[in-house]
Amino acid sequence: MSHGHELHIHQENYQFKGKAKTLSLALLIIGLAFSIIGIFTIPRDTHHDAHDTAAKHEVSNHKTIEKNIHGVDVAHSDEQLYPIPVEHAKPWYTRIYMNLLINGYFLLLIAVCGIFFFALQYIANAGWASSLLRIPQAMSTILPIGAIIVLAVFLLAGQDIYHWVHYEHLHLVKGQEGYDPILADKSWFLNTKLILIFLISIPLVWFLFGKYLRNLSIKEDAEGGLTFFKKSIRVSAAFTLFFGFSISILSWIVTMSVDAHWYSTIFSIYNFATGWVSAIAIITLFVLYLKRNGYLEIVSDEHIHDLGKFMFAFSIFWTYLWVSQFLLIWYANIPEESIYYYKRWEMPFKINWFLNLGLNFLIPFLVLMTRNNKRNPQILTFVALCILVGHWNDIYLMLMPGAIDKQATIGFLEIGMPLFFAGLFMYWVLTALSKKGLIPVKHPYIQESAHHDVGV
């Protein structure tokens, strides 16, 4: 409780060079090479083949429908309220777009959760993390890349990925063959015009908020005083309000509408949890990297311990949301809902299903349980990487089954593309980090952060 003992806070200037630069470039090259090999190895289907697969799919699809999630046969009747969607094999290149979408959306989530991380520190009046705010601030700069990829994929391959976009272009009316009352009923929301407005405006507003908050923090370094701090609190509160509503809309658009017939109210919070825990894992990785290279002098084991606690807690939070969605759908066993899990319970997704729980729950939960592990850089790095792979897999599992179903597989492309984006992310964020001072030296709570102690 003393004010007397004040540490002198030095500004640090990070230089992006050496191993980190080599690694990011290597990831970019290897990722690109793998992706190219992957693209060339995707099985091309001739027209005849495509027809064949489509037929096969129809059969397997029927099989899927006939059994509900408990494996109990569901009665079929001609007067079924909801027609079974007949799936056609997607063009071979859809897989490339899907990979772009998965990684682009993941980037977007991580970047916006980076903004949310520092906004949260301001609105919660928290001091402990003020020394590491520059990291999420740098992460937020990559937001446009994610947003542009998602938008581009929607524009270029929306028809192939999103069932409803394809349907919209058919202009079917009631009574015509193939008319889908559910999709017709959704057209007030799921229509290209409205979706484009959201897809452009939401990330744009996020980006502007992030940029503005980052500038306030950087100006504070030069000028000091409380003006920037107080302004940051107000802007952060406005951002948080907007963020809560807008991330819901974005998750409905980008991920939920892939399974256009299906819906779940918890889905938006679940998407947020995925991005949030991943963003914390990345912040932890950056802190550990910077510490190892002699930067962030005032950040200690105490901060790292707290980041470890966050990874632990929010991995459980993610699992809580996962269970809430799964348990309720499993329990009520309404075919329209349970189809979602039934699809994911079959090959080729069954492995991803188990990976999801293993990487995102079991490993963080069991490994980060003890205090010592949360203070151990090697163990934290391992868990953070598991979380990142796990949540990439989570998004894969949200998007792939609804879009290309049985055509999905983990190949060179699925490994190469995340590596490429990891390299891009490292290169981009570390470059952003090197351009500004690494420590918010005049943050009013910087002394609190420098003296941070987790207590017992």
Binding site: I266, L328, E448, V456
Partner: protein, 450 residues
């Protein structure tokens, strides 16, 4: 070493010394109760009497004395049950989650908030227990021998049974946590005791507390462990309450957002009740220096945050129902907003989503009488939320032949009003016999500890 920035507001104002804290917080225990206390207590006991009477009538004449019918099988009972359970959540959040987040402002409000939790859970328990009708038969599954009443065990597939476990766990952990925090303070009262009776009882309940470094060390470790155990409880209890509804296939009930949405709502309503109580407590007991405007402001921010989260959930539900393409879901929500119970729905929306938005203004967050009014609005709104969920979803069946209206009988109203009697009787007794503010923790954050 802990360092506090100079721009942080002081948590305890009025330049208190350690001795000031002890004398001021022990004052109500060591002196004769004030007139306002007596009046309040007698009123509460009268309401408690109403509870006793209406429960006796329910037990003697059966559930037929309630307004439930063939379609609306859950009405006021479960509305009030969820209402009270929800209120308890603020206490646990303050004592556990805010401890983990190192929020020191919790220290002068945690004791009363935890007490509130325990009393609220007691009030909640009244409803499902008496809804069983023949309470003594319902108790049978606890000791299921001889097996004369059907199945040997309770139905473990039923969320109602999960509720029994969740709430009893919650109650016991909260009670232990609360009592643990009380021990050093009870010892303080013991050490200052001037009468034999006080000496005996406070000695008994202080469990031989010595205040040595070793005991303090263990006390802090146990507090942290209990906080760790309580944190998932904050989420689990209302999650399971929400599953009482969400595992069903009733339109408006079966929706996956229910677990987190109920938890947010519970914290929201709990903070509403904490504010109602503390605005009065700080005024009547003259604790303005301990429960400062800063404390009220922080709580108002939590109310605004959780209120908006609940509002987001309402909007999500409404949106997804519209989006789902399922006519039953769509009808359930249109019926909520425009059907015969429209007034309940719009009360809920106004009180829970719109009203807390005034806390964006600093004046609203720092004016006690206004906060008090708004906390009542929050309580009312959250009661309506449960009423809306339960009654409007039930009163329209899949078959129109089952469409009915529900209104409570005088007995049901009596039980609900009576639970406030139970709650406030307990709270008045607590404020007379136990330190309302955690003395030992507050002492640790005083500026001048010399």
């Amino acid at each position: 070493m802990i360092h506090d920035s100079a721009i942080r507001t002081q948590l305890v104002t009025g330049e208190k010394t350690l001795h000031d804290v002890t004398t001021e917080i022990c004052r109500p225990i060591e002196n004769k109760p004030s007139t306002s206390w007596k009046v309040g207590f007698v009123l509460s006991v009268i309401f408690l009497g109403i509870l006793g009477l209406t429960l006796a009538i329910t037990t003697l004449f059966g559930i037929g004395t309630w307004g439930l019918n063939k379609t609306v099988q859950w009405g006021w009972d479960i509305t009030n049950f969820v209402f009270w359970v929800g209120i308890g959540h603020a206490g646990t959040l303050i004592s556990a989650i805010l401890l983990l987040f190192r929020q020191k402002w919790r220290m002068s409000i945690n004791r009363s908030a935890e007490a509130m939790t325990i009393f609220a859970v007691m009030c909640a328990a009244v409803f499902p227990l008496f809804h069983m009708g023949r309470l003594w038969v319902g108790m049978y599954w606890v000791l299921p021998l001889p097996n004369a009443f059907g199945s040997l065990w309770g139905n473990f597939h039923s969320p109602l049974l999960w509720d029994v476990f969740a709430i009893t766990t919650y109650f016991s952990v909260s009670l232990v946590f609360w009592y643990l925090g009380l021990i050093p303070d009870i010892a303080t009262v013991r050490d200052r005791a001037t009468t034999a009776g006080r000496k005996f009882w406070y000695n008994f309940f202080s469990m031989g507390w010595t205040g040595s470094v070793r005991t303090w060390n263990r006390y802090e470790v146990v507090s942290l462990i209990l906080a760790g155990i309580s944190t998932p409880l904050v989420l689990s209890v209302h999650t399971i309450v929400s599953m009482d509804f969400a595992t069903s296939v009733v339109p408006g009930w079966h929706t996956t957002i229910f677990p987190p949405y109920f938890v947010a709502g519970a914290i929201f309503s709990g903070f509403g009740m904490v504010l109602t109580l503390l605005v009065i407590v700080r005024k009547v007991m003259n604790y303005q220096d301990y429960i400062t405007i800063g404390h009220l402001e922080a709580m108002c921010k939590v109310v605004m945050l959780t209120g908006t989260m609940v509002g987001l959930a309402y909007i999500t539900e409404f949106f997804v129902a519209a989006y789902s393409g399922v006519v039953y879901e769509q009808y359930a929500f249109i019926n909520r907003a425009t059907g015969p119970y429209w007034w309940a729905y719009w009360s809920m929306m106004t009180c829970n989503l719109i009203a807390p938005q005034v806390f964006w203004f600093k004046w609203a967050r720092t004016t006690p009488w206004f906060i008090f009014m708004l906390s009542i609005v929050v309580n009312v709104g959250m009661w309506f939320e449960r009423f809306v969920i339960i009654v409007t979803s039930l009163h329209r069946e899949y078959l129109p032949s089952g469409w009915v209206m529900y209104s409570p009988t005088i007995i049901e109203i009596g039980i609900f009003v009576g639970t406030f009697g139970l709650f406030f009787t307990c709270f008045f007794l607590f404020s007379k016999f136990l330190p309302v503010i955690n003395m030992s923790e507050v002492k640790s954050i005083l500026k001048n500890r010399e």
